[in-house]
C-alpha cells in the first residue's frame, strides 16, 4: 500500500488507508472507515474470483440470473399497478423478503470476511463508525441489488399520485436498510453460535430448510389458486402491513389511499425499526469485541449431562449389540447434522405430501406410503453414515452373525420411528379424506413398502457403500462416488417396488374387483410380507458385510 513507512505497530485500518501517514506518535486524523471497508469488500470479491474459472462462472451466472429475475419481477410488480390486490401482494412480498434476510445468514453463512467481527477485534475501531462502514459494505452484493429491484417494483405497484411518488422514494431505501440491518443484527447477535460447532451444524441443516420449504411453497401456491387467490391472504396482509420493514411498502399504499395518518404511523415504525436494529447491532458488536471469544466461553460453559437419559427411554432397549447399535443410530439421528437433516426432511415431506394432497381434495390413504418410502431411504448406505468411524464397528464384527445383528439393530432403530409414524400418517390421511375403510389396506401397503425398503437398503449398504462428506449441506456423496450412490438408490427403489409388488397387486385387485369390504386383509398380509422381506434382506446382506469389511471401510472413508 502507499504507506510503507508506517511502523508495524500502527493501526491496521490506518495502514490500509492510502495516503494516510499513520505515525505512532500522531494518530490524530483517523481515516474514514467506510471507503476503506468498501475497498476491502470489493478487493475480497475480486480476489475470490481470481484464479478459479468455476467460481467466476458461478458468480457471474448468479449475478446474471439475479438481474434477469430481478428485472422481470420489478416489471411484473410494476404492472400490478392499479390492480386491486397489488397492496396485498407487495406487502406480503416485503414480509417474505425480510424473513429471508433475517434467516439466510443462519443457514447460509456467506463467508463475508468484512462482516466477521472476530477479524476486527484487534483493530482500534469505534462502534459507531464501524457500524456505518459495515452497513455500507452490506449494501454491496447481489442480494442487496436483488432486494433493491424488488423494492422499486413494489413501490411502483402501489404508488399513486405525487404524494405517493414521494413516499415511494422514501420507502425504497427504508425497505432495503430494514432488510440489511435486520440480517446484520440477527447474524451479529448469533455470531458466537455461527462460528461454533453448533453453528456449522446449523448451516448443514440448510438443505432441510430448502427441501421442506420448497414442498410447503408448492402446496401453498397450489392452494392459493384454488382458494380464490390473493383475497384469502388479506387477513395475513393486514398484520404484516404493520410489521417493519414491510411497513415501508404499506406506507406507500396508505399514502395512495389518502390515509395520511396511517402512512405517518407506518413511516415512524419503519424508521424506528431501522434505528432500533442499528442500535442493537452496535450493542452486540461492541459486546462481541470487548468480551472473551468463543474458545474461552466454550471451555468454561456448563456441560450438559448426557448420562441422565440412561435411566429412562434407553433402559427399554435390549442389551448387547442390538441395543447399543439402536441407541447410537437414534442418537445420531438427533445429533449428527447430516443424519438429522435427512431424517427431518423425510419425516416432514412424508407428512406434507399426503396431508396437503388430502386437504386439496386430491388425497388418498395410499399416499401414506410416501413417508414410509422417504424414511426407508435412510436404510441405504448405513455404513457411509458412520463415515470412517465404521472401523470401530468393523473391529467388532468377526462373523456373519455379528454382521446380521448389526444390520438388524440399525433396521430396528429405523423401524422404531418409521412404523408408528407410518401408521399415524396413514390414519391422519384416512381421517382427512374420510376413507376409514381403506385405512387398513393403506397401512398394509405402507408397511410392506417399509419392509422392502429395509430389505433393499441392507443389500445396498453391503454392496454399494459410499462416503458422505461431513462438510457442506449439499455434498452428500464424495467425489467420484456419485454414480455408485445414485445407482444404488435407484436400483434399490426399483427393487423395493418389485419386492412389494405382490401386496400392491393384491390391493389393486381388491379395489378393482369390488372387494373393498375385505381390503382389511391387506394389513396382515402387508405386515407379514414386509417383515419377511426385511428379514430376508438382512440375512442376504450379512455375509457380504462380514466378508467385505475392509472394502466397505475404504469406500466410506473418502469423505
Amino acid at each position: 500500500m502507499s504507506a510503507p513507512t508506517a511502523p508495524a505497530g500502527a493501526t491496521g485500518a490506518a495502514g490500509i488507508a492510502p495516503g494516510v501517514s499513520a505515525g505512532r506518535s500522531a494518530p490524530a486524523a483517523p481515516p474514514a472507515l467506510t471507503p476503506v471497508f468498501l475497498r476491502i469488500k470489493l478487493s475480497l470479491l475480486r480476489n475470490g474470483l481470481k484464479g478459479s474459472s468455476k467460481r467466476k462462472a458461478a458468480y457471474f451466472s448468479t449475478l446474471a440470473f439475479a438481474l434477469v429475475v430481478g428485472f422481470f419481477m420489478t416489471l411484473g410488480l410494476a404492472l400490478l399497478h392499479g390492480n386491486a390486490h397489488a397492496g396485498t401482494v407487495v406487502v406480503l412480498l416485503a414480509g417474505i423478503l425480510a424473513l429471508g434476510w433475517a434467516f439466510m445468514p443462519l443457514f447460509f453463512p456467506a463467508g463475508d470476511e468484512t462482516m466477521d467481527p472476530s477479524r476486527l477485534v484487534m483493530l482500534p475501531l469505534r462502534p459507531r463508525p464501524l457500524v456505518r462502514a459495515l452497513l455500507a459494505t452490506s449494501l454491496v452484493g447481489i442480494g442487496p441489488l436483488f432486494t433493491l429491484c424488488l423494492a422499486v417494483g413494489s413501490v411502483a405497484a402501489v404508488a399513486r399520485g405525487a404524494a405517493g411518488a414521494v413516499a415511494a422514494v422514501v420507502a425504497v431505501p427504508l425497505l432495503l436498510l430494514g432488510c440489511v440491518t435486520l440480517a446484520r443484527a440477527v447474524a451479529t447477535a448469533n455470531v458466537r453460535l455461527l462460528t461454533s460447532r453448533k453453528g456449522r451444524d446449523l448451516a448443514l441443516l440448510s438443505g432441510l430448510v430448502i427441501a421442506v420449504g420448497a414442498q410447503l411453497a408448492n402446496f401453498a401456491s397450489q392452494s392459493l389458486f384454488q382458494a380464490g387467490g390473493v383475497t384469502a391472504l388479506e387477513p395475513v396482509e393486514a398484520v404484516v402491513r404493520w410489521l417493519p420493514p414491510a411497513t415501508a411498502v404499506g406506507m406507500v399504499d396508505s399514502v395512495g389511499e389518502g390515509a395520511y395518518g396511517r402512512a405517518a404511523a407506518q413511516l415512524v415504525l419503519s424508521v424506528a425499526a431501522v434505528a432500533g436494529l442499528l442500535w442493537s447491532w452496535e450493542g452486540s458488536l461492541t459486546k462481541l469485541m470487548v468480551t472473551p471469544d468463543g474458545s474461552t466461553i466454550a471451555a468454561s460453559g456448563p456441560v450438559k449431562n448426557r448420562g441422565v437419559a440412561d435411566g429412562g427411554f434407553w433402559s427399554l432397549m435390549p442389551g448387547g449389540r442390538t441395543g447399543a447399535s439402536m441407541q447410537r443410530t437414534l442418537r445420531y439421528a438427533v445429533r449428527d447434522p447430516k443424519t438429522k437433516s435427512a431424517w427431518v426432511t423425510a419425516l416432514a415431506i412424508g407428512v406434507i405430501v399426503p396431508v396437503f394432497n388430502a386437504l386439496q381434495g386430491t388425497g388418498s390413504v395410499y399416499l401414506g406410503s410416501f413417508g414410509a418410502g422417504m424414511l426407508g431411504v435412510q436404510m441405504y448406505n448405513q455404513f457411509g453414515q458412520d463415515t470412517s468411524a465404521f472401523w470401530m464397528v468393523a473391529q467388532t464384527i468377526s462373523s456373519t452373525r455379528d454382521a446380521y445383528v448389526e444390520l438388524r439393530a440399525r433396521a430396528a432403530a429405523l423401524a422404531l420411528v418409521v412404523l408408528p409414524y407410518t401408521v399415524l400418517v396413514t390414519a391422519v390421511t384416512a381421517a382427512l379424506v374420510d376413507d376409514w375403510q381403506a385405512f387398513p389396506a393403506g397401512g398394509g401397503v405402507a408397511l410392506a413398502l417399509v419392509g422392502s425398503m429395509l430389505c433393499t437398503g441392507a443389500l445396498a449398504s453391503a454392496r454399494f457403500p459410499y462416503s458422505i462428506p461431513t462438510d457442506g449441506a449439499f455434498k452428500n456423496v464424495a467425489p467420484g462416488q456419485g454414480g455408485l450412490a445414485w445407482g444404488g438408490i435407484a436400483a434399490g427403489m426399483l427393487m423395493s417396488a418389485l419386492v412389494s409388488a405382490p401386496v400392491i397387486a393384491l390391493t389393486i385387485w381388491l379395489n378393482m374387483a369390488e372387494h373393498r369390504h375385505v381390503s382389511w386383509i391387506v394389513l396382515p398380509v402387508g405386515v407379514a410380507w414386509g417383515w419377511l422381506a426385511a428379514w430376508a434382506g438382512l440375512r442376504l446382506a450379512a455375509p457380504t458385510v462380514a466378508r467385505k469389511l475392509p472394502e466397505i471401510l475404504s469406500a466410506v472413508s473418502k469423505g
Binding site: 449431562n305 448426557r306 448387547g320 447399543a324 445420531y332 470412517s388 472401523w391 468377526s398 475392509p550
Partner: protein
C-alpha cells in the same frame, strides 16, 4: 519378491526374540495403491509382552502395515498371525484379542466420551454393568472424567487420543496396536497415556505403536522395528538396533539413509549470523 537382506536378521539373532512367544508374525506382506507400493514385502516377528516401537519417516508404510495387521486393510499378499491366530482366516479369535487406535480415522464423534465407551463395550460383547464399571475407571485414570459427558466432536486432539485408547483397552486385549498415539498430544496427556501403557505392558500384554519421535521410542520401547520405503530396515531389541550409535535418532538416520544431509554444503550459508552479506 525382493530380498529382505539383513533387515530382519536382528530379530532372530537375539535371545529375547527366541525365548518369548511371538505376539505378531508377519510373512511376506505386500500392499500396492495403484502404481505406488506402500508395503513391499515385510517379514516381521514381534515378541509378546514387550513395548514395541514401529518407527520410520512419513510415508514409510507404518500406517498401511498396522492397518493390514489389524484387519482394517486387506493385503495384496502375505500372512499375518496375531496371538497365534491368522487375522484373515480366523477373525473371531483375533478381534477379541486385539485393541486398535488407528490414525486418520474418525471416532463416533456425536457420542459423548462415556457413551462411546458404553457403545464399544457392548459391541465387544461385554455385559452392560461390566462395561460401565471399566469405562468409569478408564475415564478416571485417563483424566477424562470431567469431560465424559461432552461430545467427542468437541474434544481436543489429546482427549480424542485418550478416549480412543480407552475404547481400545476396554475389552482387555492381549495386543494393543496404536498408530501415532502421541501425535499432536500435549505433554500432560502424553504422560497420562504413557503411564497407562506402561502399567498395561507390565502385566504381560504387548503394545505395538508407531511413531516418528525417536526420543519417545527410545525412552518407552524395549524392542523396535525401523521401516523405510515400505520395508523393514532393522528390527530387534532397542540396544541391538541402536548398536554403536550414540542415540536411536542417529542409528535411525543412518538406517534410512538420511545421514549427511544436515551438512549439505553451503546452500543456506547466508541464513542467520552477521557474517553474511546484507542486501542494500
Amino acid at each position: 519378491m525382493p530380498d529382505q537382506g539383513d533387515a530382519t536378521g536382528g530379530t532372530h539373532g537375539t535371545d529375547g526374540a527366541r525365548t518369548a512367544p511371538s505376539a505378531v508374525r508377519v510373512e511376506g506382506l505386500w500392499k500396492r495403491f495403484g502404481e505406488q507400493v506402500a508395503v513391499a514385502g515385510i517379514d516381521l516377528e514381534l515378541p509378546a509382552g514387550k513395548f514395541i516401537g514401529l518407527v520410520g519417516p512419513n510415508g514409510a508404510g507404518k500406517t498401511t502395515t498396522l492397518s493390514m495387521v489389524t484387519g482394517l486393510l486387506r493385503p495384496d499378499m502375505g500372512r499375518v498371525v496375531v496371538a497365534g491366530h491368522d487375522v484373515w482366516a480366523d477373525p473371531t479369535e483375533v478381534k477379541a484379542r486385539i485393541g486398535v487406535l488407528p490414525e486418520g480415522l474418525r471416532l463416533f464423534e456425536r457420542l459423548s466420551g462415556r457413551e462411546l465407551l458404553g457403545y464399544m463395550g457392548r459391541l465387544r460383547g461385554l455385559a452392560g454393568d461390566e462395561t460401565d464399571k471399566r469405562a468409569t475407571q478408564l475415564l478416571e485414570i485417563l483424566d477424562l472424567a470431567g469431560s465424559q459427558h461432552k461430545l467427542v466432536v468437541d474434544y481436543s486432539t489429546g482427549m480424542r487420543k485418550k478416549i480412543g485408547l480407552a475404547a481400545a483397552l476396554l475389552h482387555n486385549p492381549e495386543v494393543l496396536f496404536l498408530d501415532e498415539p502421541f501425535e499432536g498430544v500435549d505433554p500432560v496427556s502424553a504422560q497420562t497415556i504413557r503411564g497407562v501403557l506402561e502399567r498395561y505392558t507390565s502385566s504381560g500384554a504387548t503394545v505395538v505403536f508407531s511413531s516418528h519421535v525417536m526420543e519417545l521410542v527410545e525412552s518407552l520401547c524395549d524392542w523396535v522395528a525401523v521401516m523405510a520405503a515400505g520395508r523393514i530396515r532393522a528390527a530387534g531389541p532397542l540396544a541391538d538396533v541402536r548398536g554403536s550409535a550414540p542415540s536411536l535418532q542417529a542409528a535411525f538416520l543412518e538406517l534410512v539413509g538420511a545421514h549427511g544431509r544436515d551438512a549439505a554444503g553451503d546452500s543456506l550459508d547466508w541464513l542467520g549470523g552477521t557474517s553474511g552479506t546484507v542486501a542494500r
